[in-house]
Assembly symmetry: C2
Homo-oligomer: 329 residues x 2
Amino acid sequence: MNQAKIYDIAGAAGVSLATVSRVLNHPEKVKESTRNKVLRIIKEKGYKPNANARGLASRRSTTVAIVVPRISQASVAEMIQGIDDSAKKFGYTLRLFINSNPKQEQELWGEVIASSVDGILLMNDEMTQETAKLLQYTPVPVLFVNAIPKSDKYGSVCIDYQESAYKITKKMIERGYKSIMFVGTEHKYTVNDYKLNGYVKAMEEAHLPTNIVFSSGDVSINEKHFTQIMENKLPEVALFVRDSMAISFMNIAVKKGHRVPEELQIIGFQNTKYAELSNPKLTCVETPIYEIGNRAMAYLTELMRETNAQEKPKHILVDYKVIWRESTK
Amino acid sequence: MNQAKIYDIAGAAGVSLATVSRVLNHPEKVKESTRNKVLRIIKEKGYKPNANARGLASRRSTTVAIVVPRISQASVAEMIQGIDDSAKKFGYTLRLFINSNPKQEQELWGEVIASSVDGILLMNDEMTQETAKLLQYTPVPVLFVNAIPKSDKYGSVCIDYQESAYKITKKMIERGYKSIMFVGTEHKYTVNDYKLNGYVKAMEEAHLPTNIVFSSGDVSINEKHFTQIMENKLPEVALFVRDSMAISFMNIAVKKGHRVPEELQIIGFQNTKYAELSNPKLTCVETPIYEIGNRAMAYLTELMRETNAQEKPKHILVDYKVIWRESTK
DNA sequence: CTGAAAGCGCTTACAG
DNA sequence: CTGAAAGCGCTTACAG
């Protein structure tokens, strides 16, 4: 009934602890017949090695830390799914750290390291100087997930935000629209800066004036702000860094009697569930958030395996696509 | 540069390892001057005890497992926030387990136990017989979060789903509506059964005929189904177990030219961000999901502290309220 | 109030 | 291919 120990398995199988351990960690080093016997008993007794002891002895925990910012969108849930599926495949387990308070970043980081994970998946898009410094002393690989590191020392997995914004803007220009507004977040996120750059590039190439607005992420603040914006002439197209902002804007426009997409076309970013639940349904650039998590975890296992210190970290770009729905013509 | 060990701290402070350990775990047992000296050095060196070693030696890991089902709504993110805030306060760290595949439930459970957590927060609303059995042998406290255990042996934290559905239904009856539809999920969730019970009770008390529909959680399937339902006479009020279903239904109704709330009133459950991003905005019963997570973690720490095996586990009910918005009169 | 010592449950060189 | 033994970094009775 009580959790079996490696000792019990060894006893029952008539071998030493070392052999049981080998069966689990280096099965190829054990004679097949011995291995099978041990395996059978392990199964019978439902033996699971104690993760703490294992971690302590091997200095590898087969555990990975996920560090997410507090104010993360609901979509992290999906990303974590992607991470977890990949983690299961490679035999890793997840430890979750939420970066609530920038002031406690140091402390959090200390905990992450003390937890002796084998690798770290970082979702923080923005990072204080201090964290950046702490990051340097991390004894395990760190990978940015759907976020862009400012230093070249870390790898990342995300979509090409700049290109995606550039292309969608260009597409709308090609369709003959000249008045295209870009709505970003007041709070600075590196990924949103990239989107902005893409938009600006497309507009400048076409010699069109840019129209850039920054707004809050908070719905009720947005609504006031957006209502103000609508006092002025409406753009033909509005591109938002987030679905939720796009929808909020669209709802206000519709209530004011503007017709979407006839008079005003709206494009979001991410393709959250909101996009399908809006009326009209939202066209957006889809960020394959599950895929990003999945790929990130897979790449992290590579990084954790590498004995040779470091090759240049890779920046993996995951494919994205545009989902055309009712909010565009 | 390298992580300091307890050994280094002891050396630098001129005390034994035992004393350093005591400073961390039972500070009251150490003379103040000694304690302060040790504390200072710990800080200087940025010492963090190795979590694995600590867990192994003390048989307590100050780690809690969160077990969530794969198909969990995005709102788990918020619940986990609540859990984490509480966990930080009590010095616990989080380990995340996602129950992807019912067939692997046994294995998952094995991992949970092997990870030697001190307690388990279970978000699985439904549970196979097998899990129920495994649950019995869990050496640590288990608590259901926003889910209802079928056995009386486990505590839980959620809102009174039955009462909330009963009250909102009754409220609409009192306002003079007789034709009230209830839309649940095809998939059986205990919490949704409770909502159904509450609805039925209110309708029966008022001698009104019930009108119950079960639908998928998938948006595109819902849409077909809902479109069908609208062939028939529309109810005056429709109550949905989920915001997203409510909004999906509402959008279809609006597109068909029905006026919300004039002809059709819609009520959701949960108060996700969707509710504020719909047009018209959705009235719903708010499930204080953050609060539920927060309270659950707090209660779990109590359970973990208790040396005396078990008193009767508590079922904590968190307050909820109804958020009246535009989808009701 | 403090230290020496055993032990938590594993893994991994090192021999054989 | 296998076993005996050391060691991973802590905690906690047990003495004093």
